[in-house]
Subunit: 122 residues, 2 copies
DNA sequence: ACTCTTCGTAAGCATACACTTACCGTAAGT
DNA sequence: ACTTACGGTAAGTGTATGCTTACGAAGAGT
């Protein structure tokens, strides 16, 4: 059972600076992970957490700006949920780096075995 | 058709806070990506970049502390290279989140079709 | 209309962070 | 030994950021 791939809208190429910055903060990633199991409201998230409700709102705004989270108004409440489409570019980016790194690593190993190879311009 | 078997986090363990923080900064991610094609020295990286050499050193230290980069002394120089092992936990983490999110998304869709389902405690 | 709940935003503040210049250790060449 | 090149670290500074309290806007129930 493979997830992703076509479900993920891989219009990647995005430089995910905002995504990384959004997930860099511990509290914010904690909030983000709290949404993994399903949508939640702001007050629900703030409940049981050592920060105030406005702080949660601000964190959710950052996550939303990064495309990691969506908000759907539900009466006077707003349901926040993780947006799979926001996670996809990050996965694509990591896969891209992964490929290059493995290639570079293999090239380095090969160079140690066969030093006749030249440096690709240092 | 049950989606989320172990919907509650498969103890993939690693909290990659340092990794995200390391890749959050634009300059630092630029440096990190410069190492994708192969190992480079500090001065090489600093060359052609708008920041000073010590700044590059500090960025490389952050990347190294995050486990994303390794340094191998080469004479009076030090060759920095991307560490594939540092990237792996990040991929694992994203895959874990990905699974939960898709499960939650599917559960949400299912709940809209069959509202007899209960909320998992908001 | 009034009230309550929910949430976003403004203002302010303390800390963290990215960058600079200056300095010191270390390996190689002469 | 002396010099040169490379690079890590200390000290200092301006800006970003995560948090708080206070206030305002908007839907739902009485």
């Amino acid at each position: 059972m493979t997830y992703g791939k076509n479900l993920a809208t891989d219009q990647s190429a995005l430089p995910p600076s905002q995504v990384f910055a959004a997930l860099a903060d511990d509290t914010r990633r904690d909030i983000f992970e709290a949404l993994r199991t399903g949508p939640k409201t702001v007050t629900t998230i703030a409940h049981g957490r050592p920060i105030s409700r406005p702080a949660v709102s601000q964190h959710l705004k950052v996550l939303a700006d990064a495309g990691l989270v969506t908000a759907t108004p539900k009466g006077t409440s707003r349901l926040y949920a993780v947006d799979p489409k926001g996670l996809a570019p990050l996965r694509a980016y990591l896969d891209s780096v992964w490929g290059d790194v493995l290639g570079a690593f293999a090239a380095e190993v090969h160079k140690q075995i066969d030093p006749s190879d030249k440096e690709p311009k240092p």
